[in-house]
């Protein structure tokens, strides 16, 4: 499993353009927001956390369809499925998701404080948003794995994956943004939504790979 993780990360890093495009997309989305709502710094600071979350959500969805499709194209997906007698396929999918998250989503989390500055956010808000993104984005990847696995046999599943996955990510978005606001606005709590967010991530760490593995198996036979 460790070897698989290293292989996945290395493969992801080799096609470095993918990571860059994800971060660039994130940057572009955030850069467009002021043009849409106007350069009012107070307003930007108020919606900043939400915009960062939506940008990260979209950027995460962008790369999801490649999660299994690259492996399917070169045939290694069949090998992974055939090896499921020795390694649990669910575990393999989980490792693949983690590797995908490390390569293409972690850069987004790293870039988010910088983008938070663009949105004129307070340091506390930036810190909270980055922390919630760190905890919450794995859930998006794990839910997305189900969508990617379900649509793996489709030639152009990218848009379909986004359509399928977006409604399911509503809870992640809600708790991520509420926790980010909770850190700045006084009456709103921070810890409660943050812990619920962590719970959602852990929950999907079980459900996502299970469902994705089942979908991959059925797509193979």
């Amino acid at each position: 499993m460790g070897a698989l993780f290293v292989r996945e990360v290395r493969l992801g890093l080799r096609s470095g353009a993918g990571i860059l495009i994800g971060v660039l997309f994130f940057l572009a989305v955030i850069a467009v927001v002021p043009f849409g709502v106007g350069p009012d710094l107070k307003l930007l600071a108020r919606i900043g956390a939400a915009m960062l979350w939506i940008g990260a959500l979209l950027a995460t969805l962008l790369g999801l369809d490649r999660l299994f499709q690259a492996d399917r194209d070169d045939g290694s997906l069949d090998l992974l499925i055939m090896a499921s007698e020795r390694h649990l396929l669910t575990l393999t999918v989980l490792v693949k998701c983690l590797a995908h998250w490390t390569v293409s989503v972690l850069p987004l989390v790293v870039a988010s404080p910088l983008l938070g500055l663009f949105m004129n956010m307070e340091p506390a808000a930036i810190g909270a948003t980055t922390a919630t993104l760190l905890v919450g984005t794995p859930a998006i990847t794990l839910i997305g794995a189900v969508g990617a696995a379900v649509a793996v046999s489709l030639p152009r599943g990218g848009l379909l994956v986004s359509v399928i996955v977006l409604p399911l990510t509503v809870p992640v978005l809600i708790f991520g943004v509420s926790a980010s606001y909770g850190a700045v606005e006084d009456p709103a709590p921070f810890l409660a939504p943050f812990l619920i967010l962590a719970a959602i991530t852990l929950f999907f760490a079980v459900l996502g790979p299970l469902a994705a593995a089942a979908a991959l198996k059925s797509s193979a036979d």
């Binding site: 599943g157 809600i174 469902a211």
Partner: protein, 255 residues
């Protein structure tokens, strides 16, 4: 496929599409007739129902809005059971049922949203409130659309069946989480003025037409669902026969 069918024992009566077709052929006229009678009665009772002292004539929208909302949830539950049928028992009709139910459920969900919106405009003064209930139903509608998109995107029914079943199940497990999160989000943001309709008790003069309408629309749903299932089986037969025809045509010149 035939081995799995024989294993399921008494389910075999329903697993055989031909037997299902004859069953549907017998029951459909009765079901359709009953639907017409109950719906007509329900409509008449709705027209006769007195206006609510608070909501006036708009209370009549309730008689269709509530059944639509109820059906939008029942349809998803049926699709979930069908998904289990596809994945666990490999029931050949389960996938037909799920595929046929999805568009009908989507239409009922859309109607629940539209009628709710038309009810909200005179009552709340706005077409749309990001109220917890409305938002949850809206997310449910999006999920229906995603499932429909997935079923229509794949040509091979066997493959799309399992993929759709998995997606439906994941969605069903997600519904409580979405409901919980939307409730949380809603209490956090405190919408300006939301008319609470859950708390008020409904008078019998309004409850009776509502009940009849709910039964009528449920019957309508089952009628449409059975017909759509029958269409889907026919469609698959046509595809299978076209394939046979193409094979025969290929073989033709050789003979």
């Amino acid at each position: 496929m035939s081995e799995t069918v024989s294993k399921t024992g008494r389910w075999i009566d329903w697993a055989n599409p031909t037997r299902f077709m004859s069953f549907a052929g017998v029951i459909l006229p009765w079901l359709a007739g009953l639907t017409l009678i109950v719906l007509a009665g329900g409509l008449w009772m709705s027209m006769q129902a007195p206006d609510d002292y608070q909501q006036g004539a708009t209370v009549k929208i309730m008689f269709i809005h509530v059944p639509f909302a109820w059906l939008s949830m029942m349809c998803y539950t049926i699709m979930t059971i069908a998904a289990l049928g596809t994945l666990v028992w490999r029931h050949p009709l389960a996938d037909v049922s799920a595929k046929a139910a999805a568009p009908i459920g989507a239409v009922f969900t859309a109607l629940a949203l539209i009628t709710g919106s038309l009810w909200g405009k005179p009552m709340w003064g706005t077409w749309w409130v990001w109220d917890a209930r409305l938002t949850s139903v809206f997310v449910l509608f999006l999920m229906y659309l995603g499932i429909i998109a997935l079923t229509r995107a794949m040509d091979d029914p066997a493959k799309s069946a399992r993929a759709t079943a998995i997606l439906t199940l994941v969605g069903f497990i997600n519904i409580p989480i979405i409901k919980f999160s939307v409730d949380w989000w809603n209490t956090l943001h405190q919408p300006a003025s939301v008319f609470r309709m859950g708390g008020s008790t409904i008078d019998g003069s309004l409850l009776r037409p509502l009940l009849v309408m709910a039964i009528g629309f449920t019957l309508l749903f089952f009628t449409l669902h059975l017909m759509a299932m029958r269409n889907e089986i026919w469609r698959r037969r046509v595809v299978a026969m076209r394939r046979v025809a193409a094979r025969n045509a290929d073989r033709g010149p050789v003979q």
